[in-house]
Amino acid sequence: MTIQCPTPHHDDEVVLLGHGAGGRLTAELLDRLILPALDGGPGPMEDAALLPGYRELVISTDSFVVSPLFFPGGDIGSLAVHGTVNDLAMRGAWPLALSVSLIVEEGLPLAELRAVLSSLGKAAQDAGVPVVTGDTKVVGRGAADRLFINTTGIGQRHGSLHPSAALARPGDAVLLSGPVGLHGTTVLSTREGLGFEGDIASDTRPLHRLVGTLAPLGADVHVLRDPTRGGLAAALNEIARDSSVAVEIEESAVPVPGAVASACDLLGLDPLVVANEGCLVAFVSADAAEGALRAMRSVAEGAGAVRIGEVLPDGPAGRVTLRTLVGARRIVEMPLGEQLPRIC
């Protein structure tokens, strides 16, 4: 038999959808193009930044471009509030104020815009954060996909709760506040009409109150991260990289709802890489792990909190491993870009 293999020629001259998927392609775009242009110095990539000159204030901004606008469990309006509130919360902050910026495509039914804004207003009210400023732009038909929303938030940190992606330490316990894979699977299923949306709903919700339960643990809480784009795999890899530690999790300990597992099996997707919008990963001192779990379980958002792994005492810096169901180990890689459903 002859052996043949082609040489591909890669197109590195245009932006691909994968550049926005939260994996390695996103990191490449940040490192090679965005950060150099903005004088972004070295350091961990955090969910929210400290406001220069104000030690207790943090700021975060996020744009929401989800399709469809409405999905089981939520919509782009509530998501736009929760996403930014949660990014602030991952730095140990309580939201003080939000800005909301709308980019609306010509032709969007006013009823849909009204429904989204009503949901956004209710989500902000429920989170206890006022919307204090904003902007509205309308673009021509085809120039945007119905509606894009940007929210920017300012938050104030809880006392001694100062988590950072760079603070994971050997021996830390890795905790997860709830099941993974719900949001990404729900949105994909709704968008593509795959039929799973009857069994699952997005987990989108604000997590600042859940973080508030951890405030008494103060400095024992080293890292908080909500595993959104790129899922748990991306979040753990980012923390391992920014803290220069080796992380190991137990496959059997990671809660994957049955419907999510079924959908992922059918589509050839990995639940560890699917986006979430309502759970967080916490790295806490081993001694504080049980207390942290009790605290998280005291509120609805953390009722399903579990310990899924640990930071290894030694091991290759930046490496995430998973102990498989059959007792072997494999590396959990940073996802590349878009997850593409398998052929069969």
Binding site: I3, P8, H9, V15, V326, P341
Partner: protein, 367 residues
């Protein structure tokens, strides 16, 4: 979870591994034919828990990996035409052709869409009578019935703007080609459960008898794989060479005869080039003459595209099980999932990608 948790039970897995260690007296070489099985083996680390010296050889059963380069180049040529909507299963979008891939073409303005079933492409054609909708029809016997049904449906609707780029491949000819290779180390096969769900296993019986090789029709969950391996080892240890069915919950001896009828109606057997392996006689399917009006290759006159080879990539040897991904000098350096040189690094089912995702390095080789 019904039908999932039962096949992922860690206690049962360890029990099967213990039994395997007690049963195997020699370093047997077993090939799992299907890429989905490779993925489970590597993601679960099962192949690293096998008895000392025993090795799984990862076979050519990834439909993305073996889709010939000319099919990809044709798909890209068609996708670049104005007015075309090119539809494909997701995995095919990142497969490198000679000059580019479908994801990059999409970024540059081509209308390339991921579909989850070929009927989605037929629906698109019905909804867009002013556009040409083309479906990239690749895969083994598993996907052929759905693709055949889509053609029948398009014919029933009288659609003139729907066509397919067909590049189906068949498993048994690949197995016999492997067994005819003097370098072949395979002593037993785990046959692909989903292929057999369609085709049954009768066509494997002559192969088992002629080459004196055990064949076990096997599923895709961790316990399926462990049980399939154990059944193959028991046959090897006792000198048997039969076709056995581990995947009893999905596969019957005669398969799905209605699905087979649809395939026979729409397609006919043809010679097919397998990427990395070469041309194998009677190893593929093409549209039968009465449905040739749905052949996109003819409709768009895209033929005779010549692939460019990379001398460093050993995709062919990986696909045939002769070499491991970690034997390749480009593995993990010039060739990564970000910049794949060969298709086995592209597909999530590809052996090289599965090794890379599991962090396999040459130093950790067990072979």
């Amino acid at each position: 979870m019904k039908y999932l948790d039962e096949y992922r039970d860690p206690v049962l897995a360890r029990r099967l591994l213990d039994e395997l260690r007690q049963t195997a007296t020699r370093p047997w070489r077993i090939m799992e034919v299907c890429g989905g099985q490779t993925h489970t083996l590597v993601r679960q680390g099962i192949d690293e828990l096998l008895p000392a010296g025993m090795r799984m050889i990862h076979g050519p059963g990834c439909p993305v990996c073996v889709t010939p380069l000319e099919t990809l180049d044709r798909a890209m040529a068609v996708a670049a035409r104005p007015g075309v909507i090119l539809t494909s299963f997701g995995d095919m979008l990142r497969v490198p052709g000679t000059d580019t891939d479908l994801l990059s073409l999409r970024a540059r303005g081509a209308d390339v869409r991921v579909v989850y079933a070929p009927m989605d492409a037929v629906r698109l054609a019905a909804e867009h009578p002013d556009r040409e909708v083309v479906f990239l029809a690749v895969g083994f016997e598993t996907t052929a019935p759905a693709n055949a049904t889509a053609v029948l449906h398009a014919a029933g609707l009288g659609l003139t703007n729907f066509s397919m780029l067909v590049s189906h491949v068949l498993v048994p000819p690949a197995m016999t080609a492997l067994l005819d290779d003097p370098d072949c180390e395979v002593q037993a096969f785990l046959a692909a459960g989903h292929v057999c769900a369609v085709m049954g296993w009768r066509e494997y019986e002559p192969i088992a008898a002629r080459y004196r090789v055990p064949i076990v029709v096997t599923g895709f969950e961790p316990l399926d794989l462990l049980e399939g391996i154990l059944m193959a080892v028991r046959q090897l240890e006792s000198g048997r060479c039969e076709v056995e069915n581990q995947y009893v919950r999905a596969v019957r001896r005669y398969g799905n005869t209605k699905a087979q009828d649809a395939v026979r109606e729409v397609f006919q057997v043809t010679d097919r080039a397998w990427r990395g392996i070469g041309a194998l006689p009677d190893s593929g399917l093409e549209l039968a003459p009465r449905y040739r009006r749905f052949d996109a290759a003819r409709r768009f006159d895209v033929a005779g595209l010549c692939p460019v080879e990379d001398p460093e990539c050993i995709a062919g040897a990986v696909l045939t099980g002769a070499r491991l991904p970690t034997d390749c000098s480009a593995y993990g350096t010039r060739c990564t999932p970000r910049h794949p040189l060969g298709a086995p690094m592209v597909s999530s089912e590809g052996t090289c990608a599965a090794f890379h995702a599991a962090g396999r390095t040459p130093a950790r080789r067990t072979a």
